[in-house]
C-alpha cells in the first residue's frame, strides 16, 4: 500500500486531468467541434469561434456550459458553448429561449417582471432542501432567456441611459447591474446578426438568388444612376439588398470573412455585411460568406452530413492563405477543451488534503503522494501558461488574470524547492493552498471576458512586461508564500499537537528565507517598473496606486527583516508580520485596482471588493489567534 500509493495517486490524477483532451461532451459532434475551430478576428486578435463562445458565455452567464429548460416540455437541456453559438448565429429563435442571462440584483429582477415567487426554486427531497439551505444548491433562478427579458427591453434601455453617464466607481449596485445586463443583451444581439440579417428565414436562398441576378442587377443600377433606361425592379432589388448589408455591416464587430483571392494580410478581414457590400464591386459574392450561409442552412435544417461537409470545405479553403491562424485556432480550441487550470485546481486541493493527512497518518506515503500531485499540477500549469504565452506571443503576465496564474505558479515552484529541502509536507501543503486559491481567483477574473485580450499601446513592450511584471509578480508570489507558511504555523500550533520545536524552527527558517527572497524580488521588480516609467513617461516614480502598492510590499518586507534583526520579534511575531504581509500584498494586487485611477487601473470587479475585505478580516483573525497565550495552544506543551 504505502510504497506504491504515491504512484497510483498521481497516475489517477493525471488520467482525470487528461480526460478533457480525449472525451468530447455529448452533443459536441465532430462537425460542431470543427465549426468551433474556425478562426475569426475579434477584439483585435484571431481566435477560434470556440473561444468566442466560451468567453461570451462566461461574461453573460458566468459559466461555459449552457443548461436550460425546454419551453414546451420543461426538460433539462445541456448545450456545449459551440452548440449554443451555432444556435445564436443560425437559429436565433431557438437560442432566444435559452436561459443564459444572469440577473441577481433584486431591483433589476423587478424591472424584468420577476418576483420572489416567480424565481423561487422548490426542491422535492429533504436532502436537496438542506443543500439549498446551506447555499450548495441555488434557492432561486438566476438565469433568464432573451425571450423572457425582451418584453422589458424599453425599461432596461431607459435605466441604462440614466446609469451610463455615472462614473463606474460611484454607480450603485442596481446601476452597475443594469449597465452590465444591457451590455450583455447588445453583445448577444450583435452576435445574432453577425452572419444572418435580422428577420431573414432563408439567407442562403437569398444569397443564391442574388448571385444569379448580380450582374444584371448591377448593370441596372449603373444605368439608373446614369439616367439611362433600366429594369427598375432589378435595380430596386439590388439597392434593397445593399441597404440590408449596410445594416449588417454596422451591427457587428466580428471580422469573420477572410479576404478574397491571394490577399494574406490579416488586416483585410471583414465582417459579413462589409464583405457582402464588396460583392457589388466585384460582381460575385465572397465564397466565405456563402460557406457560412451554407453552414447556417444545414444547421437550421438539422442536416448533419451537409453541415459537416461545408465546415470541412471552408476549413480547408482557409488553409491555403491563413494556415498560421488555422493552426493557432486549432491549438487554442484544444487548450480550451483541456481546461488545464481547472484540472490543476482540483489536483492542488487533493495535494493539500494528502499533505495534511501525512501529518497524522501514513506519514511518508501520503507526503510523497502530495508532493507528486503538486508536481503534476505544477507541470500542467506550466504547460498551460506556456501555451497562453505562445498563443499571445507575450511574456506570462499581461493582465490581472494571467498575474493570478503566474503568482500561483511562482509560489508553487518555491514550495517545491522548500519541500525538496525540508521534506516535512509543509511546502506541499502551502503549494496546495496557494495553487488552489490563485486558480480560483483566476477563474473568477475570467468572467470579465477574453483573457487573451490585446495589450493597450502604453503597455505594449514585451521587454518590460517580461522583466518588470514577471519580477514583481514573483515578489508578490513569495510574499504570499511567507504568509501562507505563517498561517500553517499558527493553525498547526493552535489547533494540533503537531508543531514540535523542530517543525517550528524549520518553519521560521523557511519564512525568514522567503521574506529575504521576497524583499529582493519585490524591490528589483518595483525598480524595473520605475525604469520602465522613466523610459516611457519621463518620471521614475509617479506615486501611481499600483506603484505605491508595490512600494508598500517592499517596505513591509524590509520592516519584517529589520524587526527580526533588531530582536523586536521572535518566532511568533515573525509569523504575525508574515500573515500581515498577505494583507499588504492582496491590497496591492487588487485593492489598488479598485480605486479606479492611475495607469494600472485595469480589470476592476465589484465582487472582488467583498472577497478582499473577507480575506483581510480572516488574516486579522489569524493574527489574533497567534497572539493567544501559549498555554492555550495545543502544541508546545511539555
Amino acid at each position: 500500500m504505502s510504497r506504491r500509493m504515491p504512484f497510483f495517486v498521481v497516475l489517477i490524477a493525471a488520467l482525470c486531468a487528461a480526460s478533457g483532451l480525449f472525451v468530447r461532451p455529448p452533443g459536441e459532434t465532430e462537425a460542431v467541434a470543427a465549426f468551433g475551430r474556425l478562426p475569426i478576428l475579434s477584439e483585435g486578435r484571431f481566435k477560434p469561434l470556440d473561444s468566442l463562445a466560451r468567453s461570451t458565455l462566461l461574461v453573460i452567464q458566468g459559466k461555459q456550459l449552457v443548461v436550460t429548460h425546454d419551453k414546451v416540455t420543461g426538460d433539462r437541456v445541456e448545450l456545449t458553448p459551440d452548440q449554443w453559438l451555432l444556435d445564436v448565429f443560425f437559429v436565433p429563435e431557438r437560442a432566444d429561449a435559452y436561459q443564459v442571462f444572469v440577473v441577481d440584483n433584486p431591483d433589476l429582477l423587478a424591472l424584468i417582471g420577476q418576483t420572489d415567487d416567480t424565481v423561487a426554486i422548490h426542491y422535492d427531497t429533504k436532502a436537496k432542501q438542506m443543500l439549498a439551505l446551506f447555499g450548495v444548491l441555488d434557492t432561486r433562478r438566476r438565469r433568464f432567456s432573451f425571450d423572457e427579458i425582451v418584453p422589458h427591453i424599453a425599461d432596461i434601455e431607459a435605466q441604462e441611459k440614466l446609469a451610463e453617464p455615472v462614473d463606474p466607481q460611484t454607480r450603485t449596485h442596481f446601476q452597475s447591474a443594469v449597465v452590465q445586463l444591457y451590455g450583455n443583451l447588445s453583445h448577444y444581439v450583435r452576435l445574432r446578426r453577425a452572419f444572418v440579417p435580422e428577420g431573414s428565414t432563408d439567407f442562403l436562398g437569398e444569397l443564391l438568388t442574388l448571385q444569379k441576378n448580380l450582374a444584371e442587377g448591377i448593370d441596372a443600377v449603373r444605368a439608373k444612376e446614369a439616367g439611362k433606361p433600366h429594369d427598375e425592379a432589378k435595380a430596386a432589388a439590388i439597392i434593397d439588398e445593399g441597404q440590408k448589408f449596410v445594416a449588417m455591416a454596422e451591427s457587428t464587430d466580428l471580422l469573420a470573412i477572410p479576404p478574397d483571392g491571394d490577399e494574406t494580410d490579416p488586416n483585410t478581414w471583414h465582417n459579413v455585411g462589409h464583405a457582402l457590400l464588396e460583392s457589388f464591386g466585384k460582381g460575385e459574392i465572397n465564397p466565405a460568406v456563402l460557406a457560412y450561409a451554407g453552414m447556417g442552412y444545414a444547421w437550421s435544417q438539422n442536416q448533419q452530413a451537409s453541415f459537416e461537409h461545408v465546415v470541412g470545405l471552408y476549413a480547408s479553403s482557409l488553409n491555403t492563405h491563413f494556415e498560421k491562424q488555422v493552426k493557432k485556432a486549432r491549438i487554442e480550441t484544444t487548450f480550451n477543451a483541456a481546461e488545464p487550470f481547472y484540472a490543476g485546481m482540483w489536483i492542488y486541493v487533493t495535494a493539500f488534503l494528502f499533505a495534511a493527512l501525512s501529518w497524522f497518518k501514513w506519514t511518508e506515503a501520503a507526503r510523497r503522494s502530495a508532493f507528486g500531485l503538486v508536481v503534476l499540477a505544477w507541470v500542467i500549469a506550466t504547460v498551460g501558461i506556456l501555451t497562453r504565452m505562445w498563443l499571445e506571443g507575450r511574456p506570462p503576465v499581461t493582465n490581472l488574470y494571467s498575474s493570478a496564474l503566474f503568482i500561483g505558479w511562482g509560489s508553487v515552484a518555491l514550495c517545491l524547492v522548500l519541500e525538496a529541502l525540508f521534506r516535512n509536507a509543509i511546502g506541499t501543503a502551502a503549494a496546495g493552498l496557494i495553487g488552489f486559491a490563485t486558480l480560483i481567483i483566476a477563474h473568477h477574473l475570467a468572467l470579465a471576458g477574453d483573457t487573451l485580450e490585446m495589450m493597450r499601446a502604453v503597455l505594449d513592450s514585451n521587454f518590460w512586461l517580461g522583466t518588470h511584471v514577471v519580477v514583481v509578480a514573483t515578489g508578490y508570489a513569495s510574499t504570499f508564500l511567507a504568509g501562507v507558511l505563517a498561517l500553517i504555523y499558527i493553525v498547526l500550533g493552535v489547533f494540533t499537537r503537531r508543531l514540535d520545536k523542530a517543525t517550528a524552527d524549520a518553519l521560521a527558517r523557511m519564512v525568514y528565507g522567503i521574506v529575504c527572497f521576497a524583499t529582493l524580488f519585490s524591490f528589483v521588480g518595483t525598480v524595473l517598473g520605475g525604469i520602465w516609467a522613466d523610459q516611457s513617461w519621463g518620471r521614475f516614480w509617479g506615486w501611481d496606486p499600483k506603484e505605491n502598492g508595490a512600494l508598500i510590499i517592499v517596505i513591509w518586507n524590509a520592516l519584517i527583516l529589520h524587526a527580526r534583526w533588531g530582536g523586536m520579534v521572535k518566532q511568533r511575531g515573525l509569523m504575525c508580520l508574515a500573515v500581515f504581509g498577505n494583507i499588504v500584498t492582496s491590497w496591492s494586487w487588487f485593492g489598488t485596482n479598485m480605486l479606479g485611477i492611475g495607469l494600472h487601473s485595469y480589470g476592476f470587479t465589484e465582487a472582488a471588493f467583498w472577497w478582499l475585505s473577507a480575506f483581510i478580516a480572516l488574516q486579522l483573525a489569524f493574527i489574533a489567534l497567534a497572539n493567544l497565550p501559549l498555554e492555550k495552544w495545543r502544541s508546545f506543551k511539555a
Binding site: R45, D253, N271, D460, R509, G538, L595
Partner: protein, 382 residues
C-alpha cells in the same frame, strides 16, 4: 549634556526607530494612495510627500496630524547614517548591507532633488505645426504682450497666483497698472446668449461683456483641466482702460491699442521656451482591427536646432522618448487624427535612481547569498 547626547544617539542609531519609520512610511503611502481619488496624483504629492507634516482640515483649522514625506525620509536618512557611523562595523559579511544602504541613501537624496527640480510640460502640436515652447500642465499666467514691433514681441507674464492674491502689478514695461478685480480657479466660459439669467458681467470692455462665467469646483482628475478666469482692470495715467475678462477658456488673445502701442492680453498655460523648435511632420495612430483599442501611436518630428541649420528627423513613440538638451519628449497622448501631445520633462537627476537601485539590488543579492551560504553549510553539517 553628554548624557542627553548619548540618549539621542541611542535613539537615532536604534533599529527600533528604523522599524517605526518604515511602519509610518507604509501608513503614509497607503493614506496618500486612498486620497488620490480626491486630490489626484499631483495634489497628493504636495500634501503627503513633498511636505514635513500632513495637515488635515478640521473645521476652520489646518491641523498637523502625521509626519510627511520629508520628515520620514529625513529621519530615515539620519537613522541610517548614524547607524553606520556608530553601530556598524566593517567586515566582509556586512558588505551587502553597506552597498544596499549606500544605494538607499542615494535614492532618498535623489528623490528629494528630483522632487525639487523636476519640471513637467506638455507640447501640443498639429501636423505641420512648429513650436519652440512647451506649456505647463497646471500653472497658468496672464500674459500682456506688446506687439507693436512686427518682428518682436515683448511679454510681461503675471502668474495666476498673483491674480488669485489680488496683488496690483506695476511694471516698467507697461504704461498701465494691472488691478485684479476677481478670480476663479476653475470656471465655465459660455456666450452670454446661452446662459439666460446670468448675473451682469463685471467686465466693461473687450470680449468680457458678451461672456458669462460660471465658477466651477476645482478638479484634480488627471483627464480634466481647470479653466481659471479673472477680471482685470487696466489703469493708465489718464484713467481706467476698462475691466477685461481673461480666461484659459477664451482661446484667442484680446487686442487693443494704448499709449501709441498695440497690445494683446491672454490667460494661457505657463510657457517654457527652448532655444530650438520642433515641427510635427506626421502623427500616426493604429488600432487593433475591429476594436477601438489603441495599438500604437507615434510622432515623426523634425528637430530644428537654434543655428538655423536643417535639423534631424526623430520618431517618438511609446517607450521611445527623445532626450535632447536636458529635456525628454515622450509620446503622451493625442487629439483626433493629426494632433499629438508630447510630455516634456526636465529632470537633471534622472540618472540617480538607476545608480541607487542597481546598488541596492546588488547589496541585497550579496547579503542574501551570504545568508544562503550559511544556511546550506549548517544543513550539510546537520
Amino acid at each position: 549634556m553628554t548624557e542627553y547626547f548619548r540618549q539621542l544617539r541611542t535613539l537615532f542609531v536604534s533599529l527600533r526607530l528604523t522599524v517605526v519609520l518604515l511602519a509610518l512610511s507604509i501608513a503614509l503611502v497607503f493614506w496618500a494612495t486612498l486620497d488620490q481619488v480626491h486630490l489626484g496624483v499631483w495634489g497628493v504629492q504636495q500634501k503627503f510627500f513633498h511636505s514635513f507634516l500632513v495637515f488635515v482640515k478640521l473645521g476652520e483649522f489646518q491641523l498637523p496630524v502625521f509626519p510627511g514625506g520629508y520628515m520620514i525620509g529625513g529621519l530615515l536618512l539620519i537613522n541610517l547614517l548614524s547607524a553606520h557611523i556608530y553601530r556598524f562595523k566593517m567586515g566582509w559579511r556586512k558588505t551587502g548591507i553597506w552597498i544596499a544602504h549606500a544605494g538607499l541613501i542615494l535614492l532618498l537624496l535623489g528623490e528629494l532633488v528630483s522632487g525639487l527640480v523636476q519640471q513637467d510640460f506638455q507640447m501640443t502640436l498639429d501636423e505641420g505645426g512648429t513650436k519652440n515652447y512647451a506649456e505647463s500642465n497646471r500653472l497658468n499666467e496672464f500674459a500682456i504682450i506688446n506687439v507693436t514691433d512686427p518682428n518682436f514681441d515683448e511679454v510681461v507674464a503675471i502668474p495666476e497666483s498673483v491674480l488669485a492674491h489680488g496683488t496690483v502689478v506695476q511694471s516698467p514695461k507697461l504704461p498701465f497698472r494691472v488691478v485684479p478685480r476677481g478670480y476663479y480657479p476653475n470656471s465655465e466660459v459660455q456666450m452670454r446668449s446661452q446662459v439666460p439669467g446670468a448675473p451682469p458681467s463685471p467686465a466693461t470692455t473687450g470680449m468680457g461683456p458678451m461672456i458669462a462665467v460660471t465658477p466651477m469646483e476645482v478638479t484634480y482628475k488627471e483627464d480634466e483641466h481647470n479653466f481659471p478666469s479673472a477680471y482685470v482692470e487696466l489703469i493708465g495715467t489718464d484713467g481706467s482702460l476698462g475691466v477685461y475678462l481673461v480666461s484659459t477658456g477664451l482661446g484667442n488673445p484680446q487686442k487693443f491699442d494704448y499709449a501709441g502701442k498695440s497690445w494683446k492680453i491672454v490667460m494661457r498655460p505657463v510657457r517654457h521656451y527652448q532655444p530650438f523648435s520642433i515641427t510635427l511632420e506626421k502623427f500616426s495612430h493604429d488600432i487593433y482591427p475591429g476594436t477601438d483599442i489603441a495599438k500604437n501611436f507615434s510622432s515623426r518630428i523634425r528637430l530644428n536646432p537654434p543655428d538655423g541649420s536643417i535639423g534631424r528627423e526623430v520618431l517618438i513613440y511609446m517607450n521611445n522618448p527623445l532626450r535632447y538638451e536636458g529635456l525628454t519628449y515622450y509620446q503622451a497622448s493625442f487629439i483626433g487624427e493629426h494632433t499629438t501631445i508630447l510630455q516634456v520633462v526636465r529632470n537633471p537627476s534622472w540618472l540617480v535612481p538607476y545608480i541607487a537601485c542597481a546598488s541596492i539590488a546588488l547589496g541585497l543579492v550579496i547579503q542574501f547569498v551570504i545568508h544562503l551560504g550559511g544556511f546550506m553549510r549548517k544543513r550539510r553539517r546537520a
